[in-house]
Symmetry: D2
Amino acid sequence: MYDKCINLLEERGVGLVDIAQCVLYLQKQHHPEIEEAEVIEVIKNVIKKREVQHAIITGITLDKLAESNSLQDDVLRDILINDKSLYGIDEVLAYGICNLYGSIALTNFGYIDREKPLIIKTLNEHSHMCHTFLDDIVGALAAAAASRIAHNAE
Amino acid sequence: MYDKCINLLEERGVGLVDIAQCVLYLQKQHHPEIEEAEVIEVIKNVIKKREVQHAIITGITLDKLAESNSLQDDVLRDILINDKSLYGIDEVLAYGICNLYGSIALTNFGYIDREKPLIIKTLNEHSHMCHTFLDDIVGALAAAAASRIAHNAE
Amino acid sequence: MYDKCINLLEERGVGLVDIAQCVLYLQKQHHPEIEEAEVIEVIKNVIKKREVQHAIITGITLDKLAESNSLQDDVLRDILINDKSLYGIDEVLAYGICNLYGSIALTNFGYIDREKPLIIKTLNEHSHMCHTFLDDIVGALAAAAASRIAHNAE
Amino acid sequence: MYDKCINLLEERGVGLVDIAQCVLYLQKQHHPEIEEAEVIEVIKNVIKKREVQHAIITGITLDKLAESNSLQDDVLRDILINDKSLYGIDEVLAYGICNLYGSIALTNFGYIDREKPLIIKTLNEHSHMCHTFLDDIVGALAAAAASRIAHNAE
């Protein structure tokens, strides 16, 4: 299941290094000394959690079904394809990940979800693909890893 | 969008009366005097919230896609068809509804999700259909309505 | 900090064995074979989490201040002393614990918070003491441990 | 209870106008046309919710007790006085407010909690006072109001 998640993320254009860059973006103020290799290990541990894996698979499956016009519900398809700003189920799934890592993860997610740096920005610019869930999943994985790093540092 | 949600629930075997019965089940200790017609009005107001509607449409779409073997992901399909007990995304969506109605809604959801009375029991017994998300959505709608009734009563 | 939490719980009448009994109550259907000693180890690990410790200390401090009439706010004191059913900050703190252990923990908490078995019942019957936060903290610790056991069992 | 909350906020240095400024800060990109008077009405409605009132009273009481050295627990007092970054119960209370207003509120809170603009910055600079809970409460009230405005605008 872990391998499947890594492959799904890769297939959709997100490598562990891309997520690590987001973690470094979140942590540069507080822990400028942290290195990418270390961050990647933390991200891997986040993705090893069963609830995280379920969120990744469910969210990416919805993105892909919307993209290939296979959702069998036109209202939901329109919402996902256009990433309507008042649709919040993608964030609900993301909070399902962040909640496991405590309040620091939630705050980090809110920040990165608004700033949309790096790979999150790239995902949002892919006009012919649907990344409604994926961009929030990436933000949540980065926020969760950043929270773990902050707790471990103390 | 409201009508679409009511129709989706009906199509999947859940009427407003079924949800009202769950609310009465949750409230009978505290507010035995409350009547079904009143409860139905509260449930309608819950379903008028945009975030609730998004949860209903997303969850039921996933159930239907799993049922018709159209999810295009066999791992997720197996999880949904078998309603694996450690898959928690259905509860995550349900909490997305309950959170809007405060802590009483969350507690009520936990109780009804474990007791599985009435229509929730019926949904779980449909072996040839997939109601992995729907049973939690019904529980969340009932829990949200029960919370609103408790707050209004004071 | 861990020792302080264990001592605070003891001082307020809650031993690890009392919490373990609540976990066994939650798990008896699913894992009847599990033993108390094993459960206690899981509970200890829950209490080792920094965010859990902060919830324990904050909640019990509020209970003690209400009890000794030292809250310096009469409205809040009345609410806590009477454990008003619509006051939900005790549950909000409890969810802060449960969220770290995923959706199964939240569901278990809702159930145990409504059934109020064992030590939770005892705490609620202490009419001359204030356990508004403590009973929810105990429920959350038990629900978190039960969730961890369910995930480990698979 | 509503009046008590408004007075408590005022007493601690936070007027409705200060919160409105934070809402405008959050919304200026999306709804630059919105006016302060309108925003203040939305904030008042947020503060009319019972669960919001309970969070305000509980959080500010803890701040005041820490400040006046009356918490009767030195560990908790040190944490609150120093606003330790890994103490997350203040955010947990804030999420108790934001959750009532959906995922947009949570995201807005994460952003404003990290940027700390305006009155939130001022509160954090009061070295002789304790605003560990208040700054998060103000952020949560602003985030909740911003979410309500976004939903109403559609």
